[in-house]
Symmetry: C2
Subunit: 205 residues, 2 copies
């Protein structure tokens, strides 16, 4: 059981925070909107706390549960406060009709965050191929992740497994772009008959 | 049970042809290398036949089981012989180290094939998120597909289901690019711990 920090107070922050608390983790919430963060902390219960937006997070694992367009700004705003942290990018940089992504190969949001992050921080892409509603259901699901630091990836994988998720390593951080496209695929499947109660995964045969 | 035509005589042609024959379909093989096609037909058995490369295929569903770089050339070579056919693009346009694809959004191989194909032909992307070895094992697996013709997609979905595969519609043909990246994701997972006996899928919860 660890302390994890979630920056954000929207649907994904709610879903991941609730599931993490349910599995015994201490959750710290940080948001520009402190009232919203406090309301979410109250909703999550389990000793969830609210930190000051921009201050040093309590958790070693920091989930950036903000919209993709604001993720780099948030990391720059925190600056050195994120030194040594594991930054988990969960964003989906979809275009307007979710037919594609607004990023390009080599320039995924996760890679942009890695450039903006302070020294000693490590970025891991995860959680973007699973709907918030499915996370909230607390059922076993697969979660893909990618990153350049083996140690950071091992920490994130352990966290995922503790949430009753199967953590599947997709490779180096450059694979974050493939995961961004996997987010598009997930929405495409959901919109074309599979519905939104699905999660991408890898059947191991 | 239908007749399907496979253009190609490599690993994917072997895997899909063998599985199709096992499930009662009549398989026609076409290859520039007629000897190789004949050897594969003999191996598949089940009344598999060899057609003339470039001639009108016997099947309504024509699988382009060739390397991505040659797919458009093959379609142009066939020309009007493919009129009215359902062309199934199974290619993976990987770059040299499988860290990305050589195509760009809106210009997936499937979309390039659609431009090159004669009038009345319909392109469906499928089979590129599953390893040949897994297809050959004949176990139930998920197969994603995408295309612009509802009728062609329904025909391909029925074919997939007849092979004991669950056919999952990802949307319009523009989604083929997301599927190309899903191919990269599949290989990334395989190379980073999951092994090659896997298939991408969507858990329906």
């Amino acid at each position: 059981m660890t302390t994890i920090t979630i920056i954000g107070s929207g649907n994904m922050a709610t879903a991941i925070g609730t599931r993490a608390a349910k599995h015994g983790h201490t959750v710290e919430l940080m948001s520009r909107n402190t009232e919203k963060a406090q309301a979410l902390a109250d909703q999550i219960g389990s000793r969830a706390t609210v930190g000051t937006f921009g201050a040093k997070p309590a958790g070693d694992i920091v989930l950036l549960a903000v919209l993709y367009a604001g993720a780099v700004d948030v990391v720059e705003h925190y600056g050195e406060a994120l030194a040594g942290k594991i930054l988990v990018d969960i964003t989906n940089p979809f275009n307007a009709d979710a037919s594609g992504v607004v990023t390009t190969p080599g320039n995924s949001v996760a890679q942009q965050i890695a450039v903006a992050a302070p020294e000693g921080a490590h970025v891991v892409k995860a959680f973007n191929t699973i709907f918030g509603g499915v996370i909230a259901e607390d059922k076993p699901v697969d979660v893909f992740f990618a990153g350049d630091s083996a140690e950071a990836k091992a920490r994130v994988a352990a966290f995922l497994e503790s949430l009753d998720m199967r953590a599947l390593d997709a490779g180096a951080l450059e694979m974050a772009h493939a995961l961004e496209w996997a987010g598009i695929l997930l929405v495409g499947l959901a919109n074309n008959g599979a519905g939104f109660d699905i999660a991408l995964g890898a059947a191991v045969l």
